[in-house]
Amino acid sequence: MTDRLCPRDEADVVEAVRWAVSESRPLEVAGTGTRRALGRATQEAVTLELAGLSGVTLYEPAELVLSARAGTPLAEIEAMLGEARQMMAFEPMDHGPLLGQKAGQGTLGGLMALNLAGPRRPSAGAARDHALGLRAVSGRGEAFKAGGRVVKNVTGYDLPRGLAGSYGTLVAYTELTIKVLPRPETVETLLIRGLDDPAAARAMSEAVGSYYDVSGAAHVPAEVAARIPALAGLGGPVTALRLEGVRPSIRHRREKLEMMLAGRGALATLEEAGSLAFWTAVRDALPFALEEGARLDAAKALWKVSTAPMHGPVLGAAARGLGASVFYDWAGGLVWIEMPGPDPQAAAIRAALAPGGGHATLLRAGTTTRATVEVFQPLDPVTGQLVRRMKDSFDPGRILNPGRLYAGV
């Protein structure tokens, strides 16, 4: 049976970690625990559940800054931002549906620990790019802070950024400060129909490399497009280019892009509502979502692969050769690969990735698989040793989420 420790404040977190250190008892660091199935499978007897550290502590829309305790629900933050017509511009994806859970769960601490991003990643960055400041408790049982509340800050090492994506293996966040931005007035999506993957990658590269501020570029092959309700009735593969901003600008840019891409394929447009639905589907990889409550060990294994955009279709072709379904975001630089069954075929996927460089993350697989297959891109020996020394510096006793990222870290 797992014990849950539920600290009420930072002092409680310090006390819990000190106790765990003195007992050499590893802690599972969690917000509400909804992303437990991400990362390598680990077994800690005690969970440090940070959901009790909740509440927005500072929100100044004119300063584009928000601070909240680590356990604050994202839904609460998004509602507050929405009222001021602002957003987290990195468009954090929601892993819930992919893991057979409800959408709309998760905490700010979890968002940062996983370094979430979405279709706006190439233009607006990931959570890391919006991390301004933090308070946290390291595996030494010491509370500390880093960064600040202003955007431009080079005072000391950039720990708010550097700790993003560390999966709770170095620190337990207690409070985070992020940069927020105005929400675009409206959105439209230009669709190109009928392109094969390489032609789509080329069209996306030209569109993203144009003057016309494309803030999302995704390509969905036919069999995956059929699973996206916003594309109903179109049929065949669809390449989507998102335009956000003020209306006169969107119209101007759409017309220019239509001219630029004329002759590539039939063009269509998604208006605001259709666009919002479509890009949510892309962001959360909804074509590969599971029924709520589905068992992960029986589910089809799912890879999330980041590579050079032009290598995307090469990798996609290899994956389809293995019987997988794929679709592309980030102009081809993010490839979602759903394997034909629970076997992730890791060696084949990683071999196909190698020529383009990048990293393949096994995003969904059963516990047994995640205990035996490297979930994250394996590290070369020099990097591996450096990462171990970083673990030593923050968490020498291997108390915080040990093994969640890499064995021994």
Binding site: C6, K145, G357, Q377, V382, T383
Partner: protein, 503 residues
């Protein structure tokens, strides 16, 4: 205290044993870097004795100018084995003394790494050696309409490697980010001589964000030998509005309302009266001289959007009672608006024999308070101060005017500068927005961070460089031995179960 630094900054005690072995070390360096790549004659080392923080000077043990990653690796491995300190240097334009040599350290100049290795328009990346200038990257891709976004004011001279070390900014940060948001990968040599690659042409490297930690680490963690950056299409249109206000409060309010209206300008700069007058006297571009604060707001992007937004900005400025309001209608006019701002530093250089350029960041709303308090401080210290300000992101550049030939003025200027930075911290801001800590702000670090905060940063240094050989004496006010930092008091099994809710 060592060397001939002119002021109160204490650098690490030079290692006499290393200095005594100088000839042997120089010979070893010559065996690695043949020809003119090793400099040990005093007169030839002079150009390297300072960086952009010219008040501090120190000759290094020797200057070594490698040209290959393998040489860098062998140099660092040798220094690691022999306990010799290393100070990396790019173009030496840094303003915080990050490249100030040490008497017992090799100065590792990266200037010969000056080639662009790969331009990839399809993936929108450039891979360059670290000695390529910031502007050199933009120049290499300009023919296809692309550019590299971060544009520090030293961009003609400063190098991309130095930008990575300092996490350099520029006037376009609010919209396009700092260096850290634009670097995708590096090749890095550790002090052991081990070579590693982080990132590449893909986004987010998965696992720990080593790139995030490395960018802005001021040469304390490793030596970068290759950098991959993302390039962007140059905006289709850019137009600027020049707005003059009778008070800095009104100008500050204008900035807040523009952002409140959901507009993120490509650049938004503010100048105070002294800076406006100095700039106008220097470049004569028609800045209004009857205003207390001048804003340059630049909108860039697709044509239709820029024209639409410029109207909205003009309306906001009018509502706030601006005295001057001019929108650029040609590239020449836009360039003229910027000419004064871009020449602000040399312009101030004309009205004062010397000046110190400070670099704090504040929450924007604190601007009127900070400006008022800075006036008081100026009176107290008996010195003048001109202000230029990246208004969009709250980054202040007060320029403190002084005359180094007058005894005590440099020290007064430094005390004034420190007071300004402490004021920035007091109002919720930070010590440095883009120039780095270096030696200049090193001893002020405890005003922002307590001992535990600093220890967590310094232990990270230990993970990269446990013997503290890379650029010691910079950033952190005190050198601690890694063994001492790493020690952890563990009450093995002695602590009671924590008294917190449990389920």
């Amino acid at each position: 205290m060592s060397g001939n630094a002119t002021s109160g900054i204490v650098m690490p005690e030079p290692n006499a044993d290393v200095i005594a072995r100088r000839a042997e070390i120089v010979a070893a360096m010559r065996a690695i870097v043949p020809g003119e790549g090793v400099i040990d004659a005093v007169n030839e080392m002079r150009p390297f004795e300072t960086d952009g923080l010219t008040a501090y000077k120190q000759l290094p043990l020797a200057v070594v100018l490698p040209s290959t990653t393998e040489q860098v690796s062998r140099i660092l491995a040798y220094c690691h084995r022999n306990g010799i300190r290393v100070v990396p240097r790019g173009a030496g334009t840094g303003l915080s003394g990050g490249a100030l040599p040490l008497a017992d350290a090799i100065l590792l100049g990266m200037g010969k790494f000056n080639r662009i290795l790969d331009i990839d328009f399809d993936n929108r990346t450039v891979t360059a050696q670290p000695g390529v200038t910031n502007l050199g990257i933009t120049t290499a891709v300009a023919h296809a309409g692309f550019y590299y976004a971060p544009d520090p004011s030293s961009q003609i001279a400063c190098t991309i490697g130095g930008n990575v070390a300092e996490n350099s900014g520029g006037v376009h940060c609010l919209k396009y980010g700092l260096t850290t948001n634009n670097v995708m990968g590096v090749e890095l040599v550790l002090i052991t001589g081990e070579v590693m690659r982080i990132g590449g042409k893909h986004l987010d490297s998965g696992g720990l964000d080593l790139l995030g930690i490395l960018v802005g680490s001021e040469g304390l963690l490793g030596v970068v030998t290759e950098v991959t950056v993302r390039i962007l299409k140059k905006p289709e249109t850019a137009r600027a509005v020049l707005v003059g206000f009778p008070s800095s409060e009104a100008a500050g309010e204008c900035v807040a309302r523009i952002i409140g209206a959901g507009i993120i300008p490509g650049g938004m700069e503010m100048m105070d009266r002294l800076a406006i007058h100095a700039a106008e006297a220097f470049v004569k571009v028609g800045y209004p001289l009857d205003v207390e604060a001048l804003l340059i707001v630049e909108l860039d992007g697709p044509e239709a959007e820029v024209h639409h937004l410029i109207e909205r900005v003009a309306q906001i400025a009018s509502e706030l009672g601006c005295i001057t309001l001019r929108a650029s209608n040609s590239e020449e006019e836009r360039a003229a608006f910027w000419a004064g701002r871009k020449a602000a530093f040399p312009a101030v250089g004309r009205i004062s024999p010397d000046y110190l350029c400070m670099d704090g960041t504040i929450p924007r709303k604190a601007l009127p308070l900070v400006l008022a308090r800075m006036e008081e401080l100026a009176r107290q210290h008996g010195l003048q101060c001109a202000n230029v300000f990246h208004a969009g992101d709250g980054n202040l550049h007060p320029l403190i005017l002084y005359d180094a030939s007058k005894p005590g003025e440099l020290e007064a200027a430094e005390r004034f500068g420190a007071d300004i930075l402490l004021l920035c911290v007091e109002v919720g801001g930070v010590l440095t927005g883009e120039h780095g800590v270096g030696i200049e702000k090193r001893d002020l670090m405890p005003s922002m961070f307590d001992e535990t905060d600093l220890a967590h940063q310094q232990r990270l240094k230990c993970a990269f460089d446990p013997d503290s050989l890379l650029n010691p004496g910079k950033v952190f006010p005190q050198l601690h031995r890694c063994a001492e930092l790493g020690r952890m008091h563990v009450s093995r099994g002695q602590l009671p179960f924590p008294n917190i809710p449990r389920f």
